[in-house]
């Protein structure tokens, strides 16, 4: 277009020299005007202006097009201005008149376009606002992990996006409804309205609903919040309603279909964002708990003996593998005198943290009783008395308490509901199960009468095996038990080896057996070997 501006300028200069060059001047003039018209139609940018900007533009374009128009008129008339410039240079005159035409047409078109765009300006503004708000929210989903902050942003954006005066967010967990954040409304007011609308429980508001109430008036303490219309949108994730988003207006005009959709779309986004924030919060909490469990595991390791007692004639090996971070199995050794070694292997019902607590208590009981009572049966009776008081009805503890004389190899022990002792003597292995019910199952007379103490004279190279039910009840992927026979055989086949190696062999077979199946109970294995000749 600018080129044609220049061309018509020069063609006019040519006329000065030769008036026969009249036609190119007119041709260029016309083409330039056509181009001006084309150029002026490129005004789509007007649509993207805000309503306020459009008003400004309207005023400016009116003024400018009028000014250009007047100027152009003065050029056409045979006024002094025209004569001065024409005499000065006909080219400049043409150029000036073209500029004036350009200005007039361009701003004229802008004026009309803006005028036509005005009625839709508000809708357009809102759409633009919605889009940018949704984008804001999408960004928030990935950036804001703080639940409270996110809830507040959601209510703030809601008021912006759907042109409402107030917005608030309530969260629903089970039957409880909790106000999470408010915008432009007091907590008390929002709570009241929420309770009015949801309190009856008649309506679940499974999809968005607009409520038109003549006077939803809450307490007028703070000047009164009088809403004419309220939109309630459920926050749904996986078809479950986690809460509601409220948007409320003072004004008469109802939420229209578009706004209704927007609120719903916004609620959907918000639901996902909140769910996300919740999950992240939970995973942080989980991490914290895991650290606590690590601490608990360390403490439990200290409760169990770190080394086994050593002596010439008695070889000992012990092993504990909890199913979870902490477990309910317990074993310990007590040096009662130079000759006597007391030991306990116990298993608290259940597993994990609850059993670990009881296990710590069991440790305390055996630790103190072993110093006072040197008879296994009496000791277990006393332990039952103590435990029964503090145990929950449905919990129990199985235990074996024994005393080995390191001088003569006599083992005295009593069994309270625990898995039987294995005695491997030569090529024979036998399970020894004297009667006795678990600790915490019954009060004294019953418990004491059930319990029988046993005495075994150990022979050279005899092996005593104490274990928790985590070994025989270990499962494979077919839900079959590891069983007692497998344990017997491993011990028999490895009986010549050191106790640590036997223990390893058992664990190896056990993990082979129950691969593809998580360990479901704590495992304890305590072995003794009597070496007569040392």
């Amino acid at each position: 277009m600018l080129i044609f501006f220049a061309l018509s300028f020069f063609s006019n200069i040519l006329i000065l020299f030769d008036s026969s060059f009249d036609y190119p001047k007119d041709a260029f003039y016309v083409v330039t005007i056509v181009l001006i018209c084309l150029n002026s139609t490129r005004v789509s940018w007007i649509a993207f202006l805000t309503k306020k900007q459009k008003y400004y533009l309207l005023i400016i374009s009116v003024i400018l097009s009028t000014l250009f128009g007047i100027n152009f008129a003065t050029f056409i008339d045979n006024s002094i201005m025209r004569q001065i410039i024409y005499t000065f240079s006909p080219g400049l005159h043409t150029l000036m008149s073209l500029v004036m035409i350009y200005g007039t047409i361009n701003f004229g078109i802008i004026f009309f376009t803006t005028l036509f765009h005005l009625p839709t300006a508000e809708a357009f503004d809102r759409k633009a606002e919605e889009v940018s708000s949704l984008m804001d929210l999408t960004n928030l989903i990935t950036q804001v992990f703080d639940f409270k902050e996110l809830a507040e942003t959601i209510t703030t954006i809601t008021t912006r996006v759907c042109n409402s005066d107030s917005a608030w967010l309530v969260l629903k967990s089970d039957a409880n409804i909790e106000l999470s954040s408010v915008h432009n409304i007091g907590y008390v007011d929002a709570d009241k309205i929420t309770n009015n609308l949801l309190g009856s429980g008649e309506n679940n508001y499974d999809s968005i609903e607009i409520i038109q109430i003549d006077s939803i008036s809450s307490n007028t303490n703070e000047g009164g919040q009088l809403f004419k219309s309220i939109a309630i949108a459920p926050l749904k994730v996986h078809k479950k309603i986690n809460g509601y988003l409220f948007a409320a207006r003072h004004r008469e005009n109802n939420f229209d279909q578009d706004e209704k959709k927007t609120v719903q779309a916004f609620a959907d986004y918000a639901a996902v964002a909140l769910e996300n924030a919740k999950l992240i919060e939970e995973s942080i909490e989980k991490e914290r708990l895991e650290k606590e469990l690590d601490v608990a595991r360390d403490i439990q390791k200290k409760i169990l003996p770190s080394t086994v007692p050593t002596s010439n004639r008695l070889e000992i090996s012990a092993l504990f593998v909890p199913a979870f971070e902490v477990g309910g199995d317990y074993y310990d050794f007590f040096e009662l005198s130079d000759d006597l070694l007391g030991f306990v292997v116990a298993d608290v019902s259940g597993k994990g943290i609850s059993s670990a607590f009881i296990m710590a208590e069991v440790k305390g009981i055996f630790e103190s009783l072993s110093k006072i009572i040197t008879n296994p049966k009496e000791l277990l009776i006393k332990a039952n008395d103590t435990l029964k008081r503090s145990l929950d009805k449905r919990n129990f503890v199985t235990a074996i308490y024994g005393i080995i004389n390191k001088k003569n190899g006599i083992l005295n022990f009593a069994r309270a509901g625990h898995t039987p002792i294995l005695l491997c003597s030569g090529e024979r292995i036998e399970s020894i199960q004297p009667p006795g019910i678990g600790l915490g199952l019954d009060y004294n007379p019953g418990f004491a009468s059930s319990l029988k103490e046993m005495e075994i004279q150990l022979k050279n190279n005899d092996i005593i095996i104490c274990y928790s039910d985590g070994i025989p009840e270990a499962k494979n992927h077919k839900e079959e038990d590891f069983g007692y026979d497998r344990l017997d055989n491993i011990v028999l086949n490895n009986r010549e080896k050191s106790l640590d190696l036997i223990s390893n062999a058992v664990m190896k077979e056990l993990s082979l057996f129950s691969k593809n199946h998580s360990q479901h109970d704590d495992i304890t294995l305590v072995l003794f070997k009597w070496n007569q000749n040392n």
């Binding site: 019902s349 449905r394 309270a416 509901g417 898995t419 039987p420 006795g436 199952l441």
Partner: protein, 117 residues
């Protein structure tokens, strides 16, 4: 997930609970619900039929321990019947046979309540 089913039926004045599958910490609450219901109905004579029970964990055993006292205080009891050997071994190891009555047949157990009046 291991399956567990529990069913309650009346045989005369005695309530019979059929347990089926795996009774462990996860499934124990189902059995507890049944016992709670019985307590509400003041029905204290209970026979638990173990015919189709495959496995019981300590949490499962705990359920019976939790309710047996109340039953006995109200002149009732929890009796066990039709137990498979592997399940019985678990009870036996803990000394349950000293504290509870075990029967081969459900009929016997129900009948025993009748004898007591």
């Amino acid at each position: 997930m291991a399956e567990f089913n529990v069913n309650l039926r009346d045989v005369g004045s005695v309530s019979v609970i059929d347990v089926k599958g795996y009774l462990d910490a996860h499934t124990a609450p189902e059995l507890e619900n049944i016992f709670n219901k019985l307590l509400v109905e003041r029905q204290f004579k209970v026979v638990v039929n173990f015919d189709e029970l495959k496995y019981i964990s300590s949490a499962g055993l705990g359920v019976f321990m939790a309710y047996v006292e109340t039953m006995r205080e109200n002149k009732g009891d929890i009796k066990f019947s039709n137990m498979k050997e592997n399940v019985y071994n678990i009870f036996d190891l803990l000394g349950f046979p000293i504290l509870y009555e075990f029967y081969k047949e459900e009929k016997e157990a129900v009948h025993k309540f009748g004898d007591q009046g």
